[in-house]
């Protein structure tokens, strides 16, 4: 009898024989880690709540929140420059967000996309540093492969301790971010620093052959194709393949999956390899497509923002596309409000608030009020 649910609220006792005068309610908390059981409109509600909440602070700064939001919207989506900038920012968010989503599918809480991104960028740059004269047909593919492998290995550094020594992946993946960032600092301040760079902490500029092709005279680069292919492959794999079925099963009930003969350890290793590899590819496309050099602070926190992107999308492929574009728009829109005297960190504030309301909503959504008969 000890496994009976313990009511979390006081239940008024029912005097013998008499009908209960009061309705007897109790609160139950459902276990549903990824919050996928919540209705989709809760996501919209949390975005609206976040905008209202941040609006208060904008108003306190003496601005009209509506005007500010309209300005951000125009800045991010209203002009062709703004829109391509938004897409440029959406590429790393989508790739990293996809990476963490795959891990979250099976309840592996990889928060190390930031580090995996940086390591991928470093691996791609290593090609330009050590084999500067590779022709384009060899340079770009080598950079792609190495960045995926390096990001994947960075992911495995989290996965192996988890599967073999039960080390919590939240801790290792977070700590490895700092290791990666410090490694980045070392190479850009040290051995890889551009000798003609006036002491700027960055590598020499990539050559034409080491850069991803761009669309016309915009900054939109070929990385968009990687992101689109990755998302399509992910959508098909999850829905239609045995591997995807196994992931869904593990995500829905790991113990039942074990009963079905699915090796969970193996899946964790593979998933973290892919998760890290995608973030690594994002890092490659950023250095090769946007900055054309590896430099100090290469990521403005894409790996962390990707976590919110994945949550907002509820790990759904189409959702990932929408939410990464939305968040990229927030970043770009944040720049555009600087002209009217607001700090661009307004976009970070909105991002944070969205996550806050999202999690609050998911938690409240797990609480069910039940009539106990």
């Amino acid at each position: 009898m000890s496994d009976q649910p313990i009511p979390t609220t006081a239940v008024p006792t029912n005097p013998e024989g008499k009908p209960a005068a009061k309705l007897r309610l109790r609160l139950e908390i459902e276990r549903n880690p990824s919050g996928q059981g919540n209705p989709w409109w809760m996501t919209i509600v949390s975005i609206i709540l976040a905008l209202v909440f941040c609006g208060i602070f904008i108003a306190l700064n003496g601005m009209n929140p509506i005007t500010v939001y309209a300005k951000m919207l125009r800045g991010a989506f209203g002009t062709s420059f703004g829109f391509t900038e938004t897409l440029v920012k959406a590429i790393p968010l989508l790739l990293c967000g996809l990476g963490v989503s795959i891990a979250y599918r099976i309840s592996v809480w990889n928060i190390g996309a930031e580090g995996q991104f940086v390591i991928g960028a470093m691996a791609a740059t290593a090609v330009t540093v050590y084999w500067p004269n590779l022709p384009a047909y060899a340079a770009i593919p080598t950079m792609i492969v190495l960045s995926i492998v390096a990001g994947g290995i960075w992911g495995l550094l989290t996965a192996i301790p988890k599967t073999h020594f039960q080390v919590n992946e939240l801790i290792t993946s977070l700590m490895l971010n700092y290791v990666a960032l410090l490694a980045l600092d070392y190479v850009v301040f040290g051995p890889w620093k551009d000798p003609q760079g006036f002491n700027f902490p960055g590598t020499p500029m990539f050559t034409e052959t080491q850069s991803l092709p761009v669309l016309g005279d915009t900054r939109l680069h070929f990385g968009l194709v990687f992101a689109v292919i990755a998302i399509i492959v992910y959508a098909v794999m999850i829905r239609y393949t045995r591997w995807g079925y196994e992931l869904r099963l593990i995500g829905a009930n790991a113990e039942a999956a074990r009963n079905a003969g699915i090796g969970i350890k193996k899946h964790i290793l593979v998933v973290m390899l892919i998760s890290g590899g995608l973030a690594g590819l994002a890092g490659m496309s950023e250095v090769s497509g946007v900055t054309h050099r590896l430099m100090y602070g290469i990521s403005p926190g894409y790996g962390y923002t990707a976590i919110i992107v994945a949550w907002l999308a509820r790990l759904n492929p189409i959702g990932l596309v929408i939410s990464s574009v939305l968040f990229a728009g927030l970043i770009v829109g944040g720049y555009s409000v600087q002209t009217i005297g607001l700090p661009s960190s307004i976009s970070e504030m909105i991002q944070g608030s969205i996550l806050f309301f999202l999690i609050a909503g998911a938690t409240i959504g797990k609480i069910r009020i039940k009539r106990s008969a």
Partner: protein, 513 residues
């Protein structure tokens, strides 16, 4: 006898939703006695004790402590009344030291002067010494053995001044040596005038230490007896009840059992914490028979089911299945060999609640060529196949994508059986297959098991519900302490004898092997 009992619970009723856990139960404990509360799992012992210690509140009924009527609304209230409970699963903070756990929640512990903890430790050590409960007070809990952790729990109740001490299945986690030590402590507490209440299902222990024994069965109190007036045999009979199992219909019109399907030899298996769960277990199941494994929970049933289904590996011994060796610790191997599994808790380990019927039916067959090709699932044909299974097994679901957690327990179990039987298993390992089902659904499950048997498959039915085993099984084995200690055919089954075996008493006559 005129003295006022320390605990007097009168006409206690406790319901959980539609389930009646305790039905008009009376219970008294005297000052300075060791009172054993005896019953099978689910008899309602723990629920009674949880009400006394403030974890649950009775639906109706009164509790008197030392003659005063009290309402115990929380564990804190219980503590005020001098009631302390040691739960089966300890309530300890793993990272704090033993002493810190004991003083936890104490008002005066907020502001600690220098040397405060040292004084407390000495105080705790003094109590521990007095009752013969040594443990390292300054070590964190996670470094202590299970037996030591239990001592910490007991000292915690004593430190807080409890004079009514409840122990819920205290010996289930202990080694034989630790059990003896515990009994010594209990006698000591009794000598100091404390009331000790111990819930258990082990007859030997009851007879060893208790003064009085109350026997519960299916939520009701049967008897309270003095130890001198009774013996193990009587207690065993009371515990398992004496109603006659319903004679099974169509017991004749089936194929006779033929050939050995499963042969388990000298199996040693260790549980999660290194305890030996199965000890040189021997077991044989023939093709076309239902073998029931009866026993009180925690005697190795779970590990037996896990080993047969590949979820756990064995140390020594061998399992021959359908003429071949069974792979050690391979779920895939067990599935491919033709072993189906109806797990103990279907929503926890048998079904994925958030997924629909199709995904849940695919669990074991998605690797087959009919269900997938080149790594891609055959979605369309899988849907048709699922639909036909759902119809064949009469699973009531709005559609194939409805999350199975929203189905009724009976329909969930039907879905699970549909999946397992579709695999055409040679052996089905069914653990508590009717737990939580209503009468109709229970009958449905029984029918499925019979059909499986009649088609020549074997069924290993592991259940704590002796009635169910008597009703279904052709042959009954009793497991105790990781060994099969008794065997009897369905026609010769004798509840009393089975009860003795379940409680660890080796019967004198016709000891089967």
């Amino acid at each position: 006898m005129s003295e006022i009992p320390s605990v007097d619970m009168r006409s206690i009723v406790k319901t959980f939703g539609p389930v009646v856990a305790n039905d008009q139960v009376d219970f008294t404990a005297r000052t300075g006695e060791i009172h054993a509360l005896l019953g099978e799992n689910g008899a309602g012992k723990s629920t009674m004790m949880c009400m006394l210690s403030g974890v649950y509140r009775p639906t109706s009924g009164d509790i008197f402590i030392h003659g005063n009527k009290v309402k115990i609304k929380s564990p804190k209230d219980a503590m005020k009344q001098g009631i302390g409970m040691v739960f089966q699963n300890f309530r300890l903070v793993q990272t704090l030291t033993a002493a810190e756990n004991i003083v936890l929640g104490e008002r005066s512990s907020f502001w600690r002067g220098p040397g405060w903890m040292k004084n407390k430790q000495e105080e705790i050590e003094a109590i521990a010494d007095r009752f013969g409960l040594p443990f390292p007070v300054d070590r964190p809990i996670w470094q202590l053995s299970v037996g030591e952790q239990q001592r910490v729990e007991i000292v915690k109740t004593l430190y807080r001044g409890a004079d009514i001490i409840i122990l819920d299945e205290p010996t289930s986690v202990l080694t034989p040596g630790e059990v003896e030590q515990l009994f010594y402590t209990l006698l000591h507490m009794k000598a100091e005038g404390k009331s000790v209440i111990m819930t258990t299902h082990k007859l030997k222990e009851v007879m060893a230490v208790s003064d009085r024994i109350s026997v519960m069965r299916k939520g009701r109190m049967l008897h309270t007896l003095d130890k001198q007036e009774t013996d193990e045999r009587e207690l065993a009979r009371l515990m398992v009840g004496k109603e006659v199992a319903a004679i099974r219909p169509e017991a004749s019109g089936r194929k006779p059992a033929s050939g050995i399907m499963l042969d388990v030899k000298g199996l040693d298996v260790f549980a999660d914490h290194g305890r030996k769960a199965l000890d040189q277990l021997e077991l044989r199941v023939q093709a076309g028979e239902i073998v029931g494994v009866a026993g009180v929970a925690g005697n190795g049933q779970r590990e037996l089911a896990e080993v047969l289904t590949g979820l756990r590996s064995w140390k020594n011994g061998a399992i021959t299945f359908a003429g071949g060796e069974l792979k050690n610790g391979s779920v895939r191997g067990a599935i491919e060999a033709g072993i189906a599994h109806v797990p103990e808790n279907r929503m926890k380990s048998g079904l994925a609640g958030s997924l629909g019927a199709v995904d849940n039916l695919l669990f074991k067959s998605y690797r087959s060529d009919e269900r997938s090709t080149f790594g891609f699932l055959r979605s369309k044909s899988n849907k048709v196949w699922s639909q036909s299974l759902v119809e064949q097994f009469d699973v009531k679901t709005p559609d194939l994508d409805t999350p199975v957690r929203s189905l009724s327990g009976g329909n969930q179990q039907k879905l699970l059986f549909a999946r397992e039987i579709n695999q055409e298993p040679k052996l089905m390992v069914a653990v508590h297959p009717t737990q939580g089902l209503d009468v109709g659904a229970t009958e449905g499950v029984h029918k499925l098991l019979h059909e499986l048997r009649d088609k020549g498959s074997s069924v290993l039915l592991i259940s704590e519900d002796l009635d169910e085993i008597l009703q279904l099984a052709d042959r009954i084995l009793v497991i105790y302490g990781g060994r099969i200690v008794g065997e009897v055919s369905q026609t010769q089954a004798d509840r009393e004898q089975i009860g003795m075996w379940m409680a660890g008493m080796q019967g004198e006559e016709e000891a089967a092997g």
